[in-house]
């Protein structure tokens, strides 16, 4: 059984079909890439999976169970956590507080602990902060814990966003263009990070425009264009697929969708 399976998933905006009968299967512990030209519907596909925009047709199966249309927080609680193409952090807050949001659904606190703490909820609070500390150390940004995140460099913000996702102990981590805006050394670091996340047993699904990165990093790739899958396979096979080459000609440059 695949970890995540999309069956004929379709999403329309008005007359435009952003995602058109998309099928794919992400296996446990894979690093799975989705590539395609601008406007191909990659981010929309992610939005459908994570419940931001429920698909009109088709199904999203998670560990064999249908979760189509589940709201984002429920999807996250099942273990599917994402990052965003345009970084979305809580800019006024500190790095540690940002990452702490990832512990939200793992925390055992109930709503009324917000009014009155109990010894158990205080303990829980401390345990979660320690997890955050661990995650910051993993990303080597623990020295920035108290800094307001909005004032930090782009590369650091990417790390904070990934730390936030990872600290929630996801089963599937969805990365939307994680290398966008990073320089070469930061990209190298990213590759290392993604491998070590995978080695912790986390499955990874990513969109990326940086072809070299995708080809070295992923185990399996689906190429989509105009919302439709046009090819899938291991990186080597994709690289030589004439349909893929054609789709990419003339539309490779900017990375906005």
């Amino acid at each position: 059984m695949a970890l995540l399976e999309l069956k004929n998933m379709t999403k329309r905006f008005g007359g435009l079909t952003a995602v058109d009968h998309l099928n794919l299967k992400v296996e446990q512990n894979q690093i799975y890439g989705i590539i395609g030209p601008n406007g191909a519907g990659k981010t929309t596909a992610f939005n459908c999976i994570t419940g931001i925009h429920p698909p009109e047709e088709g199904a999203v199966l998670w560990q064999g169970k249908e979760i189509t249309g589940a709201p984002p927080h429920k999807v996250a609680a099942m273990g599917i956590v994402r990052t965003f193409q345009t970084i979305r952090l809580f800019t006024e807050m500190s790095v540690a507080e940002n990452v702490m949001s990832g512990r939200h659904f793992q925390s055992n606190q109930r709503w009324w602990h917000g009014i009155c703490h109990t010894p158990a909820s205080r303990r829980d609070e401390k345990e979660n902060w320690l997890k955050v500390k661990e995650a910051l150390e993993f990303f080597k940004i623990d020295h920035l814990a108290a800094e307001p995140v909005g004032s930090l460099a782009y590369g650091i913000q990417r790390k904070v966003e990934m730390a936030r996702a990872l600290v929630s102990e996801p089963k599937l981590l969805i990365l939307d263009e994680p290398a966008a805006g990073l320089n070469d050394s930061e990209t190298m670091e990213l590759v290392e990070t993604i491998y070590s996340i995978r080695n912790q047993g986390v499955t990874i699904l990513l969109i990326e425009h940086n072809m070299d990165l995708v080809m070295t990093l992923t185990d399996y790739i689906t190429v989509i264009n105009f919302g439709k899958p046009i090819a899938e396979g291991i990186p080597d096979a994709i690289q030589s697929d004439p349909m893929v080459i054609e789709a990419y000609l003339g539309s490779e440059d900017d990375d906005d969708e």
Binding site: F13, T43, N47, I52, H53, F84, Q85
Partner: protein, 300 residues
Amino acid sequence: MDIFFQQLVNGLTIGSIFALVALGYTMVYGIMKLINFAHGDLVAMSAFVGLSVYDQFLGGTTNSLVAVLTIFAATGVIIAMAGIILERVAYRPLRNAPRLSAVVSALGASLVIQNGIMLIWGPRMRFFPADILPATTWNIGGVYISFIQVVILVVSLLIMAGLIFFIDKTRVGAAIRATSIDHDASRLMGIDVNRIITLIFVIGTFLGAVGGLFIGLYYRGINFNMGWNYGLYAFVAAIIGGIGNIPGAMVGGMLLGIFKAFIAGYVSSTWADAFTFTLLIAILVVRPTGIMGERVAEKV
């Protein structure tokens, strides 16, 4: 049946005034994403200014189109200037501040204008003379409609048609539409955003001034604190229509006027506000951005 049509006329008259005032809210909102809570008080102020213009320069003139036009022109200019000052003093320094700080600034400006009116013109009610316009009333099959009601309806419709033409068909209108979508991009395209904002305040407050003068001419008694009441309903009208949307404000104003007339006429005057606002909330639950407001999907 005459009662039904009478209520329709009642509703359309007050609805036109709501619509004129609502346009001021919606235009400013469209450009600055700001609820200009001081707008209602500018409306009240315009009635006082209009009355002073009449007293100073036209004392005793009756049934005169020239007198009325003079009042409108002079008041329009003065209130538009007040609108420009309001924007400079209370809103421009806050343009890059969090949205809500401008709301508080607007509330402060509302206090300033309201109490300023009281300090200048006194706390007592002031009165427009009854005979600036002919007091003719027509009885059409049991439906009574007065000359001033006709004037309010016709002039409001003409102004609104003109406004739509201006926004949709002229270069300046295009610049306004562009600015309402994106200040920075408009600036890059060579639009002077500050001038557009000033222009919006001029047009918006001018429309409010027309509304305020209609209030003075029709109801005749004007009070320093009447701005809040008209402001609130006009703001509600703008929200019903979809704030930021110009035809929406017109539709919202007219609908609100008619709602209020029919609720008082056919449901209950005792519970008029309760019904009006329950209906408003119901509209928002079903259409979260008003009747003609665009549904914005967040880009991810």
